[in-house]
Structure formats: structure tokens, C-alpha cells
């Protein structure tokens, strides 16, 4: 990994935690600003540690790594919030409450639809995670590539040929006589 893991972990952890938190995660609605920022930060950290200028290709690999790590961290952080938001409303309780009541068929149909939606929650979460991961890989990579462009160290010029010295065989001083 040539020292890419540490900056990727740090960049991924910061954007992963921020993206997993409610409200703060909405910053990702601005073209995945948090995710791209994570890649950008990782590129900065990687260049800081690297003695030579990093390449754009290295930045792309670093961004992919940051996206994977950040995506996993985000999943762990956001899972409790996601489950909590789905658990707040339990349609079975509503069905118990409405049982025995003489309700129009539209309402019964609506409650049935809610139950079906709850069953879809698990699969929806998985699909959302996969989509998020794809999007994050792309945007973290782009963020890291922009980071390389911004933070790339100037290359140390290679030592050229030595300057021409004095001639090895000293010439006799020119006589004006």
C-alpha cells in the first residue's frame, strides 16, 4: 500500500463518521462534499508523508481506498440511526389497534401497504448501502485526484552535469612581449 493506508484510514474515518451522523450527512447532498473532502484530505496527508511528489494514479488508488474505508465506517455509524427511524413506527401495533373497527377498505389497504413496506426495509437498506458505496468510491477518488493537483510537492530538480571547471592543464600566461 506504500503508506496509503494511514491517510486513507484518517480521511475515510472523518468522512465516514460525518456522513453517518444525522443532519451533518446532508452535506453530501452537495455533490458528496463530505466524501470528496475525505479523499481531498487523504491526498494532503499522503503527500505530507511522502518525500517525493505523488502521482495522480496514486491519488486515484488512495481515493478508492478512502471510499471503501469511509463507506464501511459510515455503515456502522448510520445503521443504528436507520434502524431507529424504522423502529419508531411499528405497523403491527397499528393493525392491533385498528382490528375490530369498521373502517373503509382504503384504510385497511393503506395499513397493508405499510406492512409490505416494512418488509422491504431490510432489502432497501442493503441496496442503499451498495449504491452509497459506488457513489462514494467515485467521489472519494475524484476528491483525492483534485487533492493531488492541489497539494503535489514540486519535484526536486535532478542534479545536472557539473559546471565546467578550470582546464586541467594550465595554459601559460599569454605574453604580450
Amino acid at each position: 500500500m506504500n503508506g496509503k493506508l494511514k491517510p486513507a484510514l484518517l480521511g475515510g474515518a472523518i468522512f465516514g463518521i460525518a456522513s453517518g451522523l444525522p443532519i451533518i450527512r446532508w452535506l453530501n447532498c452537495a455533490c458528496c462534499a463530505l466524501v470528496a473532502g475525505g479523499g481531498f484530505l487523504a491526498a494532503h496527508l499522503y503527500q505530507k508523508e511522502s518525500p517525493k511528489p505523488i502521482q495522480y494514479g496514486d491519488g486515484a488508488v488512495l481515493g478508492l481506498l478512502t471510499g471503501v474505508i469511509g463507506g464501511l465506517i459510515e455503515t456502522v455509524v448510520s445503521l443504528p440511526f436507520s434502524l431507529l427511524s424504522f423502529a419508531v413506527f411499528d405497523s403491527s401495533e397499528l393493525q392491533d389497534l385498528l382490528r375490530g373497527m369498521d373502517l373503509p377498505p382504503e384504510v385497511n389497504e393503506w395499513v397493508g401497504m405499510l406492512t409490505a413496506q416494512e418488509m422491504m426495509v431490510g432489502s432497501t437498506l442493503v441496496i442503499t448501502m451498495i449504491w452509497s458505496l459506488v457513489i462514494w468510491l467515485i467521489f472519494a477518488t475524484i476528491g483525492a485526484i483534485i487533492g493531488v493537483a492541489v497539494f503535489q510537492k514540486p519535484a526536486v530538480p535532478s542534479p545536472g552535469p557539473p559546471p565546467p571547471g578550470p582546464p586541467t592543464t594550465p595554459q601559460p600566461p599569454m605574453s604580450i612581449e
Binding site: 446532508w26 453530501n28 447532498c29 452537495a30 455533490c31 458528496c32 517525493k52 511528489p53 502521482q55 495522480y56 494514479g57 491519488g59 486515484a60 488508488v61 441496496i127 442503499t128 449504491w131 452509497s132 459506488v134 457513489i135 462514494w136 467521489f139 477518488t141 475524484i142 485526484i145 483534485i146 493531488v148 493537483a149 492541489v150 503535489q152 510537492k153 514540486p154 519535484a155
Partner: protein, 174 residues
């Protein structure tokens, strides 16, 4: 020069058998991405279930507020004005930058100038804006990014074949 041997050359200078697969991959990905954005409202207008999948995919990166999105077939596009500008700018950069040597040369010599292209968008976010301003500032911001993404991909494609640098003609045998 600011960086190593590969970055010392503009993206157009890369040659070799690995260049074209890398470019085709990038162009195909961008074409599919753009097509999905415009396909989503058509599918939604046709009551296709696939529309929800496409909108759901782009929702990971965009708020998709209908008032802040262009509409086609009576439905909002899969992304907002600014995101559409960014993606369009990226696509235009991929197509146009190889021909605009003065700009690609400038980005090659001074890659940090990429931030200047983001400045109008940052200002637009803070100031009162319009759909046109959101679209065009996004377009300008992403236009030069395409150059660096393409360069990164070409570097990755070149690495297994050659350690560094674009292909050069072999020395003539005496």
C-alpha cells in the same frame, strides 16, 4: 516542472496499447452516467419501476429538489441544476480539453489553478442564485477536473506496462 515523469506530460501524450481501453472505459462510464440522468424522468413518466432505482442511486449524491432541477417529460431530472452542471462540465472537459492545448498545458504546469475554477461556484452558493447560475458555475468547476481524472486513469493503465512516463520511440539500432 512540478512533479514526476508521468505528470510532466499532458494526458494527450500517453500512447500505447493500454491507452484506448482506459479512455473507452472512462468515456463509456461518463456516457452511461449522463444517460441515466435523462432516462430517469422518461421512465418515471412511463410509470416504470426502474425510475425509482435511478432516482435512488443519484439521491446518494444529490438532494433532487424538483424546484432546483430541470424537468423533462413533466418530471424532474435525476439531479439538480448544479449537479447537472458539474457532470456536463466534466463530460465537456473530457471531450474538449485534448484539443485545447493552452488550457491542458496550463493545468499541467499549474495544477493548483484547478481551485480557481471552483471559485465561481463557491460564490454562487453563498449569493442569491438562479438555475442558470447554478448550472454554469457547476459546469466551470468540473471542466478542468476531467483533465486530472483522465491523467490518473492513464497513469494507472500505463503502470503495469511501463514503470513511468509515456511511451517513447525505441532507440534505433546502429
Amino acid at each position: 516542472m512540478r512533479s514526476g515523469p508521468i505528470a510532466d506530460h499532458p494526458a494527450e501524450d500517453f500512447a500505447g496499447q493500454r491507452r484506448w481501453p482506459a479512455e473507452i472505459l472512462l468515456f463509456s462510464a461518463v456516457a452511461i452516467w449522463m444517460a441515466l440522468i435523462f432516462l430517469a424522468p422518461y421512465l418515471r413518466a412511463s410509470d416504470s419501476l426502474w425510475a425509482d432505482w435511478i432516482y435512488g442511486f443519484f439521491h446518494q449524491a444529490c438532494h433532487q429538489i424538483p424546484e432546483r432541477s430541470f424537468a423533462m417529460w413533466g418530471e424532474a431530472l435525476a439531479v439538480c441544476h448544479r449537479c447537472l452542471g458539474l457532470y456536463s462540465g466534466f463530460t465537456a472537459g473530457l471531450i474538449l480539453l485534448p484539443g485545447w492545448r493552452f488550457l491542458s498545458g496550463l493545468l499541467q504546469r499549474r495544477p493548483r489553478w484547478v481551485l480557481l475554477f471552483f471559485a465561481p461556484m463557491m460564490l454562487d452558493v453563498m449569493l442569491p442564485n438562479t438555475p442558470a447560475s447554478r448550472y454554469f458555475t457547476g459546469f466551470v468547476a468540473a471542466f478542468p477536473v476531467a483533465y486530472f481524472v483522465k491523467l490518473a486513469l492513464l497513469q494507472l493503465a500505463a503502470k503495469p506496462a511501463q514503470a513511468v512516463g509515456p511511451s517513447r520511440p525505441a532507440p534505433k539500432k546502429m
